[in-house]
């Protein structure tokens, strides 16, 4: 007997949708999420931010899902960290409010979402340099905006969305767009998906026009951005230009958060279009482990609408596997959802081609810091790779990359790309970092407390 039929890791679009669907099939559901409120990144703090005119319009589409999730009857554990997952046993080790706790589940759905791709440029460790996502979090969780000279450098839909949101909040930013792929080239590479995704594309173009109309200044096609300053960022410079800067917000797209899926040893594949690893999964999110499903951006970047469909598909698959849904009902329910997801994914090819990250972002120049925790430069990584470090796991012994507090969350993609380059391999040929538990730091006291409750027969 397990504590729950389904445990879902993450309360973003995929996790919330999976919880609602699984509950409607009569399954008992646990949802674990590190944040204080449901929504994930895209709908972060949705309930609190809905009335804020800066972010309200972007958050509104998520409110019905948040409400359905709140009313679903799922056991929701916010502000809770999963620090170990035993996939074979279905045992989850959680930490919340200074206490450790173990629960079990028959099926586990990883809906861990996305993180921003690291943007290692010269000076990116200076205080005042943040990600575009961080600025959105400031807005959504607290209505806070950067003051002084604000510069957005990078590319992708989020850059334009953020520029508009900041402008609505009274902050006129400077956008330095790093995009080098032309619309025509992206169209040619993407082929057929464009017509199906026209709604999203129209939205994108409207955002860009809206940003300019609201006084956002734009420099397109910039190369070699770098942050400069004494003790904090004071200037941003690029090939042929510079500007004063108090807050520099970087963005080169998002990649799946694979920390947990990696740590439990799921099979992953290299996605050459999105230049990232993703867990191998079937149409319903079933992974290489019989107990584990993956859903949403954590299984490959597709955006929130695709994530909602994927979450529901994974929940229906859980219901089928647990005997709560007959095969014919499963087939009928999933057919529509598969079509919805395919439609949501159709503009991806075009977006991925248009916003392909520059080579210097994937594998930066020698003097740039690649691993922020241990302050290791790209040059040092290249040298170690030439000396014999065949991958990130071996590199730990040379340079400690991946052993600092972030456990490789941030540096792993850069380190792997540098090793691949130095050893003349394709990115997918370098075995990625295998993170270890605890996935997040836990105190010895917490572990001792958890052991005590278990000894007393508690859960």
């Amino acid at each position: 007997m397990t504590d729950f039929d389904v445990a879902i890791i993450g309360a973003g679009p995929a996790g919330m949708a999976a919880a609602v669907e699984a509950r409607s099939r009569g399954l008992s559901v646990l949802v674990v999420d590190e944040n204080a409120a449901p929504g994930g990144q895209v709908f972060r703090a949705a309930e609190a931010a809905a009335q804020d005119p800066a972010v309200g319009p972007a958050i509104a589409p998520g409110l019905p899902l948040v409400a359905a999730f709140r009313g679903s009857g799922a056991t929701y554990r916010p502000a809770t960290t999963l620090w170990h997952l035993d996939a074979d046993e279905g045992a989850l080790s959680l930490a919340a409010h200074g206490r450790a706790e173990d629960v079990t589940a028959s099926r586990v759905i990883l809906a861990t979402g996305a993180q921003e791709r690291p943007v290692p440029i010269p000076g990116w460790t200076l205080p005042g340099v943040m990600t575009a996502g961080a600025a959105q979090i400031l807005l959504k969780t607290a209505g806070v905006v950067p003051s002084g000279a604000v510069v957005l450098a990078g590319q992708g839909p989020l850059v334009w969305l953020l520029a508009v949101q900041l402008a609505r909040a009274g902050v006129a930013s400077l956008v330095l767009e790093t995009r080098t792929t032309s619309l025509a080239a992206a169209l040619a590479r993407a082929g057929g998906g464009v017509w199906a995704g026209r709604r999203l594309l129209a939205k994108g173009l409207a955002l860009m026009a809206g940003a300019r109309r609201r006084g956002v200044r734009v420099v397109t096609g910039i190369r070699g951005p770098r942050a400069e300053g004494e003790g904090r960022v004071q200037r941003v410079a690029w090939e042929g230009g510079s500007a004063p800067c108090d807050t520099l917000l970087l963005h080169e797209g998002v990649i799946p958060s694979t920390h947990v899926s990696r740590a439990i040893g799921l099979e992953h594949e290299w996605d050459a279009t999105q230049a990232c690893w993703r867990p191998v999964a079937d149409a319903f999110g079933g992974s290489s482990h019989p107990r584990i499903a993956v859903a949403g951006d954590g299984a490959g970047i597709g955006g929130w609408e695709a994530a909602v469909a994927a979450g529901r598909l994974a929940a229906l698959d859980a219901a089928r596997r647990l005997g709560a849904l007959a095969e014919d009902a499963f087939a009928a329910r999933t057919a529509t959802l598969l079509a919805v997801r395919a439609a949501a994914l159709s503009p991806r090819g075009f977006l991925d081609a248009l916003y392909a990250p520059p080579a210097a972002v994937l594998a930066p120049a020698d003097d740039v810091i690649a691993c922020r925790c241990e302050e290791v430069t790209a040059g040092a990584v290249r040298r170690a790779a030439r000396l014999g470090a065949t991958g990130p796991n071996q590199l730990k012994a040379y340079l400690r990359c991946g052993m600092g507090p972030c456990q490789g969350r941030l540096c792993a993609p850069t380190v792997a790309a540098l090793i691949a380059e130095a050893r003349g391999l394709a990115p997918g040929e370098v075995a990625p970092l295998r993170p270890r538990a605890p996935y997040k730091p836990v105190t010895v006291g917490m572990l001792a407390g958890g052991a005590e409750t278990l000894q007393q027969g508690g859960k």
């Binding site: 609190a48 005119p53 921003e116 943040m130 400031l138 209505g143 922020r372 730091p441």
Partner: protein, 98 residues
């Protein structure tokens, strides 16, 4: 170099950043409180002592490690503020305390 927007989200929670009272909106994290206190750096790196501020605010980079209510090495961006919370910057590596 950050400011609240009182009409959208009033600053109602008082916390102590390095001993100085700061008013921040409910829902903000301890890392945001540090930024609103006017400090750009939260920690000094154990390796070179260089200053660091938060990069991601979503739990990925660990550049926001701070001492919160006496507990060191906490991800300040993952800890929502509470009235009276004490947030202190962190210099260098932590020492294990008995």
């Amino acid at each position: 170099m950050f400011r609240t927007r009182p009409d959208a989200r009033p600053a109602t929670v008082e916390v102590l950043v390095e001993g100085t009272p700061v008013l921040v909106p409910e829902g903000a994290s301890a890392a945001v409180a540090v930024l609103l206190a006017g400090l750009s750096a939260i920690r000094e790196m154990p390796v070179t002592g260089s200053p660091r501020g938060p990069l991601c605010l979503m739990g990925v980079c660990f550049d926001c490690l701070a001492e919160i209510d006496g507990v060191p090495n906490r991800q300040a961006c993952m800890v929502p503020v509470a009235p009276g919370m004490r947030i202190a910057r962190q210099r260098g590596a932590r020492e294990a305390r008995p």
